[in-house]
Amino acid sequence: MRSRLKGTIQPTSRETRHAVASYPSARKAQQDHDNFDTNSPGLWAKPLAKPVCARFLHCMNKRATVVEITDLHKSYAQLEVLKGINLSAAVGEVVTLIGSSGSGKSTLLRCINMLEVPERGSVRIAGEEIRLVGNAHGRRPADEGQIRRIRSELGMVFQQFNLWSHLSILDNVMEAPLVVQKRNRAEVREEAMAMLGKVGIADKADRYPSQLSGGQQQRAAIARALCINPKVMLFDEPTSALDPELEQEVVQVIQLLAEEGRTMVLVTHDMNLARTISSKVVFLHKGLIEEDGTSDEVFGATKSARLRQFLAAAGH
């Protein structure tokens, strides 16, 4: 199965729509995108293998909260990185975390799937609280099974891609669905190829990560995260390790996902990306939320002097 598509899919342009139509899996993705009703953000862009919400009543809520962070504190030895963060992301929302280096935005993202365990505060995914035991630095997940189950519903994309270098691109994408979700191989394979088609690298399925450019690797990493049918996509500075040219191909994929109505939490230094795709922008400063609001509010009517300073430095 070889994609006749070269480069990324740009769903907004007429020509690419035509090109998309020639690749079956990508066409399916495009149709889902077209049929997506933006007036009902509680619905999902594509049918999922598992039910979206843990509880039925939760699904009835139109703007169901998928990620809910309450009073989160995280420190390393003496250094307090997060000093009490409250944050939530509803179904279909794109929440963008911005802030200068060291403001704690990556740490906050990594607390969502417990790659970092916070000393205080709680994280709820689709209404289910991640149970933690112990105090302070000894705090750890109470139930490894719960952590694994929740992680298998959160698609994470890393700054350094972190594709497993001993596996081919296709095997990378198929790994978690097969090993963690224990799904059927043939079905996973088909979906993996569709996801690779969606990010425009179906023809690279048999290559190893080291044989791909940075942009292609990051798109493969996005396909890997998509293939687990995540409730939320977590992006940790997905374009920071790429040069401007390669950055664009990844940005286009992220924009495509935002338009599909995927719930995403995104950490980025790319202010253009933050401005265009965010439903909510959160500016972190020294471990606290300095300012948050819609894209227009934060970028158009900036209230905080620090954020104004930060945006000026970022060229806005």
């Binding site: 952590i147 001993h166 790994e175 090993v179 080291s210 687990i228």
Partner: protein
């Protein structure tokens, strides 16, 4: 062996060639050739044991639990410092006597034990005689324990060389600790471990020359016997000191083994470096 050759062929070869053919195919020489399998078996099984001990030692040593980490550290650091010859003598003897002690407590009557006070084994029934292959097995385990400590050190270093991000990504996708180990950590570890493990393998090959210490008539011992000045009552001095010739054959044999090993390790490295962007890994 010479009897198997047809007469015309013998006549054509001439008396000199037939003599040497006969000499090199006599019983002692056949035993010499056959004894190569002791060396090869000891090397292969010893290496297999070393790998198992190495993986276990590395797992203990890198464990977070101090009750596991300490034995691992003691094993790796102490055993590496013990001369292999000493351990080669110590372990099989200790094992044999431990077996005899256990057997003595079961089979020896108090009267029989009293009769042989101060002697070992406590009674004749408790005496254990190991066959050559049982000694070989003990030798392999001894090699495994000694060189497993080296392998553990190599493997522990290789485990630490796998980039953190690779493991973190696996955890982030919900793989369990065991799945992370078997599906990401170990497969990626080999490329960092292979250069060190090839060193350990070479050391194991060399250590197989110690087999004769355990009553195994291996190539080194037989070369020594065959090459030594040879008297017989009927014929007088058959030959003088030919040991240098036999030792030369052994040298060539070990060099050949090294050459083959190098090829095998190159192939293994190619296999382990698939997709791994490590400079100079694939030759």
């Amino acid at each position: 062996m010479l009897d198997l050759l047809p007469e015309p062929l013998k006549a054509w070869l001439g008396p000199d060639v037939t003599f040497w053919l006969g000499y090199f195919t006599n019983g002692k020489h056949i035993a010499f050739f056959v004894s190569v399998h002791y060396t090869v078996l000891a090397a292969l099984l010893g290496a297999a044991c070393a790998l198992v001990f190495g993986l276990m030692g590395a797992a203990l040593w890198t464990s977070r639990n101090p009750w596991l980490r300490w034995p691992g550290a003691v094993y790796v650091n102490m055993v590496r410092g013990v001369p292999d010859v000493l351990f080669f003598l110590f372990f099989p003897l200790a094992f044999e006597q431990a077996m005899e002690w256990m057997r003595a407590s079961a089979v020896c009557t108090p009267e029989a034990a009293a009769e042989r006070a101060g002697q070992w084994p406590p009674c004749p029934d408790a005496n254990i005689f190991f066959s050559t292959y049982e000694y070989l097995a003990l030798a392999c385990v001894s090699l495994g324990i000694v060189y497993g400590a080296f392998a553990a050190n190599v493997i522990a270093g290789a485990m630490r060389s796998v980039p953190r991000g690779q493991l973190e990504a696996a955890r982030a996708f919900g793989l369990s600790a065991r799945q992370v180990l078997w599906r990401v950590h170990l497969p990626q570890m080999w490329i960092y471990a292979l250069p060190g493990l090839s060193n350990v393998w070479m050391l194991i090959i060399k250590a197989t020359s110690l087999l004769s210490l355990l009553q195994i008539a291996d190539i080194v011992q037989l070369a020594n016997r065959l090459g030594a000045p040879n008297f017989s009552r009927s014929a007088g001095l058959v030959h003088g000191d030919w040991r240098w010739g036999y030792y030369l054959v052994l040298l060539v044999f070990y060099i050949g083994l090294t050459f083959v090993s190098e090829r095998v390790f190159a192939a293994l490295t190619r296999r382990a470096s698939r997709g791994m962007a490590i400079e100079g890994a694939a030759r």
